[in-house]
Structure formats: C-alpha cells, structure tokens
C-alpha cells in the first residue's frame, strides 16, 4: 500500500498533462543487463550449434581416444590429454560464438534496439563479456572434465604410473585459455562489427602463427623471431597447458604455463580495452 501512496503524488504532480505510466521500473543495473544477455544467448540456435559441436568434438573424440588406449599409454601423458584432440577443433566453435555474440547484433540492427533500452554501453558490453565468458568456461570445463575423469576411472591401472594434481590444474588453465580466446573473439567482433570478418580474423590469429613461425625459422636473419613465434602461439599454448610436450624446440627452453596464459591474458585485455573505448565512442 505504501508503494501506491508514494506513487500517487508523483503522478498527480505532473503539471504538463503528460502521460505517466503505472508500470514499476526501478533503476536498472548490471544484474538486469546480465539477465538480458543470458536470455539473448540462450534463445538463439547458434549458441546450441556452436557449444553443442564443442561438446560433441571434445567428448566424442576424447572418449573414443580413451577407449582406444590402455593404462600404459598414460605413463607419460596426463589423463586429460585425450580431451585435447577435440579441443583443438572445438576452440574454433568457442571463437565463432564469441564473435557472433556481438556481431549478430550489429548484423541484424538489434544493437540499436539494445542500446536504446540500455544507453549505458559499457554496462551492455560488460554483461556480454561476463555471460559469454561464464558460459564458455562452464561448457569447456564440463567437457574436458568428463573426458579426463573417464580416463582416470577407466585407465588407472598400475602401468599408468603416478598422476598428480598438477595435470588437472594444467587442464583448468587450458579451459581458461580457450575461454580467453572466446573473449578475445568477442572483443574482435565488437571492434569489426561483422561476423565473417571477425571469424576470419580469429581463424588467422590461431592458425597463422605456427606456419609463419616455421617459415621465419627457415632464414638465419629471422630465426630467433621464428622460434619465439613457434613457442608462443595459441595451438602450442593449448598443447602445453594440456600437459603434452611442447615439441620441436630442439633443446631451447620451453616457456612456462603461466607465460603462455599470461601472453593471451595480455592480448585479450588489450582487445577488450580497445572494444570498450571504441564501442563507447562509435555511432551505431
């Protein structure tokens, strides 16, 4: 009753004869933006397709690999290693979804409707990052855990040797790595506003460096740069975090897991910052 008593003088205080709505609309905040983004993400089919293919690839290939191996095969590799095969392809699905999360709004013109409803652009973008990041991380982690636990339960014979907690931490890092690639994709999507363009950039970013690095290594002048590129790139980082040897180094020191993650965190942070600056200023 207090609410009605409060509302009445406010409504009658209008002198211009304008319209006053009876709908309650309290001050919206980030929580509302998150709810809105959650509905957006869960109500389109592209989410089901991309995340579904991620799960199918990681779990499908992973379980198949587990079934084809014996306990002895896990002597020198971690239990989560079978999840890596599917993840090498599955990470593309995460990146595609990351780009689409924002570029589809620009493609359809929905972004205008969205920003009219929520003029605080930074809040909208933050909600996108948080919702997408949480969903991507959850799905990635779930699929990897399923494969890793399957291997740990089915192939834990004495021949498998000792397996510590370190490999699980590494896998967690791997899931974070894939999630970061997705967040980077979202930032790229926000910057280029174009689905095909954003996806192409992300594909190039992930697939080009290993090739480019190998080419650069071929010439004496650029050999050092080439080796660095070969060591620090997205596929290599992922392989390393999943506990497989970062091969082809001919004795040169392997970067630490943290260095691999740290590099991607840095690149992603730069792209995310750029997306905030640009989205805030740009006409839509």
């Amino acid at each position: 009753m207090t609410a009605t008593a409060d509302a009445t003088p406010a409504a009658s205080a209008r002198q211009d004869g304008g319209y006053s709505s009876p709908l309650p609309t309290p001050r919206p905040h980030l929580g509302h933006a998150l709810a809105s983004e959650w509905t957006k993400l869960t109500s389109v089919r592209s989410t089901v397709w991309t995340l579904g293919s991620l799960v199918a690839l990681v779990v499908g290939i992973g379980v198949f690999a587990v079934l084809q191996t014996g306990s002895a095969d896990y002597k020198s590799i971690p239990f989560v290693a079978p999840a890596l095969f599917g993840m090498m392809v599955g990470q593309l699905a995460v990146m595609v979804l990351g780009v689409l999360t924002v570029s589809s709004e620009y493609g359809t013109g929905l972004i205008r409707t969205t920003l009219t409803a929520a003029p605080d652009r930074l809040r909208v973008l933050t909600a996108k990052y948080l919702v997408f990041g949480a969903v991507a991380f959850g799905v990635t982690l779930g699929s990897v855990a399923f494969v890793g636990i399957s291997a740990a339960l089915l192939r834990n014979g004495p021949e498998a040797g000792y397996h510590g907690a370190g490999e699980w931490v590494g896998a967690l890092g791997g899931c974070l790595y894939v999630t970061l690639l997705g967040v980077l994709a979202l930032a790229v999507g926000a910057l280029v506003r174009h689905s095909a363009g954003g996806i192409a950039i992300m594909l190039g970013l992930v697939t080009m460096p290993p090739v480019l690095g190998a080419i650069l290594t071929g010439w004496p002048v650029s050999r050092e740069i080439g080796l660095t590129v070969v060591r620090y790139n997205a596929p290599m980082g992922l392989i390393q975090l999943f506990g497989l040897p970062n091969s082809g180094m001919d004795g040169s020191p392997t970067p630490s897991d943290l260095a691999q993650l740290g590099l991607l965190v840095l690149v992603t942070a730069l792209a995310v910052t750029a997306s905030y600056v640009v989205v805030r200023r740009r006409d839509v």
């Binding site: 709908l23 001050r27 957006k40």
Partner: protein
C-alpha cells in the same frame, strides 16, 4: 517533451543535420517530415544517443538520453522494424529488452496482445511479414509504457489495414497525453495523423508549425473556369476587377481569391456559357514538394532529359524564401 538545440551532425565533409532546433510537445502527434536523405533518421538516432552529434544537444524531459535511468519508460522507439534477431522468437526478442529495464515478464505478453501478435509469440521473427515485423517493433516501443514514442517511417510498406491501425494507435496514444514523434516522407499521411509539423530538408529546419497553419499557408485555392466565350468572360471579369490567368495548355482560366459562387453569378448575369466552374485546391503533397523542392537530394531524371525534375517545378513562397536564406548563408 523533447528539446533539440543547435543539433548538427557531419559525416566528413557532408553535413547531414545542420543546426536543428525545435521542440516536440506532449499530448500531440508531431510529424517529422522531409524528403529521403533529409536527415530524419540521423536526427532520430542522435535523439536516442545512438549517434554522437557533432554539435548541439538533445534533451528528453530535461535530461540527456544517456542520463535516463529508465530509458524504456521515457522513450519507446521504432527505428527499423527489422532491428530484431531473426532467430529469436517474438516473445524472446521482447523479453531481453524487458529484462534490461526490469520490466515485468507479464508486460511482454500484454504488448504482444496489444499489437495482435499473441498467436505468433513463439515463432521466430525472421519469418514475419513486413507488417508483422512493424507490429513487433511497435510492441518493443510500447514495452516500457513510455511517455514519449518515436516512430521512424512506421507506415512504410504496410497494407491499408496496417496503415489505418498505426494511424489510430498513434492518435490514441497522443490522446492519453503521450508525446508522439513520427517521421515520414509522405505529406498525405501526415495530414491525417499529425497535429504539428516539423519539416526539414538537407538537414535544415524548413518549417515548424501546426498542421492547420501549414494547410492555411500552403494550400493555394483557386477556381477553374472554362468557356467557349473566353474573350467575353475575360472582359467581364476585368470590368469586375477580377484577375484571371489563362492556362493555354488546358484552355481554362484560373482565378485566385474569388469564390466560385460569385463567378457563376457574374457569368449568368452576362449570359456567358460555362463548360466548367470548379473550385480547386492544391494538395498538401504539392505544397510539401514545393517547400522541399530545393532540398531534395536525390533527383530522379526523366528519361531523355538532364535537368533535375524538381528544378522545373521549383517555385514560389516557401521554396523561394529558403533558397534566399541559403544563398545568404553561403
């Protein structure tokens, strides 16, 4: 109430909106009129803080759009009916908007019912016809039950029934005391819905006046006379002090400012045979075209000619005044 002050938008060297100042008042339908490319949509986007003005300000109930804490409660806008994600159902499209402004879920069903889309609420919006898409856009504009409603070309591509529906909806919303701002490039449509008119051409304000003033100032009325005894009639009219203009193309006489009754009586007195005696009124569409003739950006060329179509018909009052100020300004 929406207030624009010196609003300007430049895209590189091109000025899309040029020093625009006017007010949109509550309780009436304000028509925002201009030819294609006049800057109507750009102005509306700046009102909603989607585009940043190069200069000037827009205030919604005294505040900048970005400072509105409950934007959907203040303004509902239909900019582009297709500005929805086609893969989402009508219900979900509205739900994400509602959630971002903490509007209750029940309201989504309410507005869907209001625009008559309840039967297709769960259908993907990409399968919608133009009319259905327009209705969904209007539903999203009405979602927050706002005081101000903004529609960009709402009747574009609609069938007569849809046009009638939108027309009545806008009048009904204005009668409830809301501010309605609707853009169009069709004068005839505005004549039926708008109480107030804001006309722009090439981004500049050409007119800001009430509909009745516009009709009074811009609709030239005259009487057309045809007779086999034209010379005699001319003499008679001349004696009575009436100026008649003969139009060679039709062989008729046109007379300004004299009622048809008087002309008929005059002819009868002198026993002149009349083949036609008809009061004529220039349509508002013609008045609008005269007003904006100089500022139409994209002229169509008649086949075989090179002169802009508008240039030949460009003429009096409004257009001339505008041309003069423009030359003065540059």
């Amino acid at each position: 109430m929406i207030e624009l002050e010196g609003l300007t938008k430049r895209f590189g060297a091109k000025t899309a909106v040029d020093n625009l100042s006017f007010q949109v008042r509550p309780g009436v339908v304000t028509g925002f009129l201009g030819p294609n490319g006049a800057g109507k949509s750009t102005t509306m986007r700046m009102m909603l803080d989607l585009d940043n003005p190069t200069n000037g300000t827009v205030r919604i109930d005294g505040k900048h759009y970005r400072d509105l804490t409950e934007p959907l409660k203040h303004i509902g806008a239909l900019l582009d009916a297709k500005a929805m994600h086609g893969g989402r159902s009508a219900y979900n499209n509205l739900l994400c908007l509602a959630e971002s402004n903490r509007i209750p879920r029940s309201r989504v069903a309410e507005v869907l019912d209001l625009v008559g889309l309840t039967p297709v609420a769960k259908k993907k919006s990409k399968g919608f016809s133009l009319g259905m898409g327009q209705r969904l856009g209007i539903a999203s504009a009405l979602l927050g039950d706002p005081e101000i409603l903004m529609f960009d070309e709402p009747v574009n591509g609609l069938d007569p029934e849809g046009i009638l529906w939108i027309r009545n909806l806008m009048k009904g919303l204005a009668a409830e005391g809301r501010t309605i701002f609707v853009s169009s490039h069709l004068m005839s449509e505005m004549a039926l819905t708008a109480d107030h008119l804001v006309v722009i051409g090439q981004g500049r304000l050409l007119a800001d006046l009430s509909m009745s003033d516009f009709i009074q100032q811009n609709s030239r009325s005259y009487v057309r006379l045809r007779t086999p005894q034209q010379e005699r009639l001319k003499d008679v009219l001349h004696e009575a002090g009436i100026d008649a203009v003969s139009v060679p193309a039709t062989g008729a006489l046109e007379i300004d400012g004299v009622p048809a009754e008087r002309l008929g009586e005059l002819a009868a007195q002198h026993q002149i045979v009349l083949h036609e005696l008809s009061p004529q009124r220039a349509s508002l569409e013609e008045a609008f075209m005269r007003m904006t003739a100089d500022s139409v950006e994209y002229h169509a060329h008649a086949p075989g000619t090179t002169a802009p179509a508008g240039a030949a018909t460009a003429a009096p009052a409004w257009g001339a005044g505008y041309e003069a100020t423009r030359e003065g300004g540059e």
